[in-house]
């Protein structure tokens, strides 16, 4: 089931980039350039979630947020250009579900969109990501390889879920680090190697294994099927 997102962003290039990204991630997108258009489109389409820039012409994102909240609980993720904590807090107190500050990774944004949707549409589906015989229960932080539960640390779980979401794609150590430990650890990309080797060891203890984490020399890691290796 593909869900409809309302994307409110006044900057043309960023908006089209995000549109392409969301489409490639399997969402449907309607776009608004300013606050008034956002309200109109929200009223017309009733999207599953709104990605809302705070700084907008005509009507600010905060104003849009207030109007939407006065009517219903459509999930809203705020985009802020300034990590000004005031903006963030104000946004959250007014009922935003999450925020992300520019510059951000589109992949990170779609992960948050999924997380918010998962949270707000609780119960209807168990969020599971699978690849080959690898199964991740994201809501319970559990990983099954075949039928065996892997005892993973939270960092290992985060690494694996990043790789499972995009199988076959190479991630640099810095990318993995940023997603799993946060950007304050920049410069410690090598510690990812330790986590990966632990992860591999745990996965290799289970047979049969259809998947493995492959080292791409000079780049990073990717998840791939055993037969491709």
């Amino acid at each position: 089931m593909s869900q409809l997102l309302l994307l409110v962003e006044d900057e043309e290039s960023l908006r089209s980039m995000l549109r392409e990204h969301f489409l490639s991630e399997g969402f449907q997108v309607v776009e608004a350039r300013d606050g008034q258009e956002a309200i109109r489109l929200w009223d017309e389409f009733r999207p599953a979630l709104i990605v809302l820039d705070i700084m907008l012409p005509a009507m600010s994102g905060i104003e849009v947020l207030k109007q939407v909240r006065s009517a219903d609980n459509t999930p809203i993720i705020l985009l802020t250009a300034r990590a000004d904590e005031v903006d963030k807090l104000l946004g959250l107190e007014l009922g935003a579900d999450d925020y992300i500050s520019k510059p951000f990774s589109p992949r990170e944004l779609s992960a948050r969109v999924r997380a918010v949707l998962r949270r707000t549409q609780r119960g209807d589906e168990v969020m599971v990501a699978t690849y080959k015989n690898l199964k991740l229960d994201i809501s319970r932080f559990e990983v099954y390889l075949g039928s065996t539960l892997l005892p993973l640390t939270s960092t290992e779980f985060k690494i694996l879920s990043l790789l499972v979401e995009h199988p076959g794609q190479v991630f640099s150590r810095l990318q993995i680090l940023e997603r799993t430990l946060g950007d304050i650890y920049e410069g410690y990309e090598r510690t990812i190697d330790t986590h990966i080797s632990n992860l591999r060891r745990k996965m290799e203890s289970v047979t049969p294994q259809d998947v493995k984490i492959k080292t791409v020399y000079g780049v990073g890691y990717k998840l791939m099927g055993e037969e491709q290796a």
Partner: protein, 469 residues
């Protein structure tokens, strides 16, 4: 008064004080002079009265009444005669200055008048301007009345008047002179006071126009010298800040230039097909962008912290959690064969801080320590409670920091070792961020690096009362 200005006010007050004090002393002089004169005149009148009452008594005893005493009076007043019996006890010097005398008998009939005008007339009332003295006989019987002319009109009185009017004139001249002197001195003094003020004011205008190099020459009174010195201090600080800001801006530009050049070069190579679109290339571009993003975030948190707008969300953090979060660093140190030791004071269980910020402070400090520690070295983290603070110290046994760099070590983009590259030296913001985050927590940060003993960074996080409950 307020529109008069400092100079006007000082001058006016000086003149006022001068005039008042001169007038007062003049009035005092006049008063004292008059009093002295009056006392003198009074004394003289008494002496004269005493003489004449003796003379009258003698005359009365001889003649049985005062008829004919006029003769004696005129005689005495006109010349000094040889009547020794009548002039007993008289002072001839005083007699020469004799004033008008009138003698009346018991019926108020004038029997003698030195000017002869009232002779033979009846005195019904007191003669104005004359002092009255009773004349008594030996048997203490009233035999008549002696009138002595008052100071006015008499020779001695006009002398007194001349004297007093002389003094008055001189006092008035004095007041005018002193007022002018006060005016002159006041203007001089005011000029002396206001000229440094004028200089400072001119310097402030220069400063407002952006000439930050301006300085004033401290002179004048102590307060004005200190004001000028304060101004110079302020101007120097502003200049310093401005230079700091400019350097910061150019440093930012420089720091952005490198990753942007890399990105541009690689993207253009991709664009014109010289570079194959491989996973490796794409990943390196992403890494470069992640570093750029990180730099932007760092700059932002420094900016926020310096403008005091950094939001610190304090919450009690378990000390063990902090240590757990250092795992990536621990792993990196293992790989570099650096020994890492953590020592925690038993009393410290929790620290009240913003978890992410505290981690960033620690990571930045340990990061810095790692960069200056050779393989086989040692880094230690101590957490202890000192007074009302939790004291963190990060020690390394590395090469240490030369003294001349210690002062600037927390400056943005300051690198003790200029030759360090971006990769090996970090982005030059780590310690600056650590400092701003510590200060945002209300703590202190400092560094000690005795030669040959490695380097220790210390910082404190204040203990809040929550822990005491």
């Amino acid at each position: 008064m307020s529109k008069l200005g400092l100079a006007g006010r000082i001058t006016a007050i000086l003149i006022l004080i001068a005039v008042i004090s001169t007038s007062l002393s003049g009035i005092m002089t006049l008063f004292i002079t008059k009093k002295q004169f009056a006392g003198y005149v009074d004394q003289y009148s008494q002496a004269t009265a005493r003489q004449w009452s003796e003379i009258a008594n003698l005359y009365y005893t001889t003649h049985g009444n005062l008829e004919g005493i006029q003769e004696l009076l005129v005689d005495t007043s006109q010349a000094v005669t040889g009547k020794a019996s009548l002039r007993k006890g008289l002072n001839s010097r005083v007699m020469g200055n004799m004033r008008r005398l009138v003698i009346a008998d018991t019926n108020e009939q004038v029997v003698a008048d030195s000017s002869g005008v009232l002779l033979g007339k009846n005195l019904d009332e007191r003669i104005p301007g004359m002092s009255k003295f009773p004349l008594m006989s030996d048997e203490n019987r009233r035999i008549g009345t002696l009138y002595i002319a008052g100071p006015l009109g008499a020779g001695i009185s006009s002398l007194e008047n001349t004297f007093i009017s002389n003094i008055t004139t001189q006092i008035i001249i004095c007041i005018i002179l002193v007022a002018f002197l006060a005016l002159f001195l006041g203007l001089l003094l005011a000029r002396q006071i206001t000229s440094p003020l004028g200089e400072i004011s001119a310097a402030i205008h220069q400063l407002a126009k952006g000439k930050l190099g301006v300085k004033v020459n401290p002179h004048g009174d102590r307060e004005l010298v200190s004001l000028a010195q304060d101004f110079n201090l302020m101007a120097a600080r502003l200049l310093d800040q401005e230079q700091n800001r400019r350097r910061f801006m150019s440093d930012i530009a420089h720091e952005l230039r490198t990753p942007l050049s890399i990105l541009r070069g690689r993207l253009e190579a991709l664009q014109n097909g010289k570079w194959e679109n491989s996973e490796q290339q794409a990943s390196s571009l992403v890494d470069e962008v992640i570093r750029l993003t990180r730099l932007v975030k760092d700059l932002e948190s420094i900016g926020l912290a310096e403008s005091g707008a950094l939001q610190i969300n304090k919450a009690p953090i378990d000390i063990n959690d902090i240590v757990d979060h250092l795992t990536p660093l621990r792993l990196a140190m293992e790989e570099d064969q650096i020994r890492f030791e953590v020592e925690i004071d038993d009393r410290v269980k929790q620290v009240d801080a913003d978890s992410n910020r505290l981690m960033q402070i620690l990571i930045n400090l340990i990061n810095n320590a790692m960069r200056h520690t050779e393989s086989g070295g040692e880094i230690s983290l101590d957490i202890a409670e000192v007074k009302n603070d939790v004291l963190f110290s990060v020690h390394d046994n590395g090469s240490g920091i030369p003294q001349e760099h210690l002062l600037n070590i927390f400056d943005r983009f300051y690198r003790a070792d200029e030759s360090r590259s971006r990769e090996s030296g970090g982005n030059g913001l780590g310690l600056a961020i650590a400092r701003s985050l510590v200060e945002a927590h209300g703590g202190r940060i400092w560094v000690e690096s005795p030669p040959g003993q490695g380097t220790t960074f210390y910082f404190t996080i204040p203990v809040t009362d929550i822990r005491l409950i």
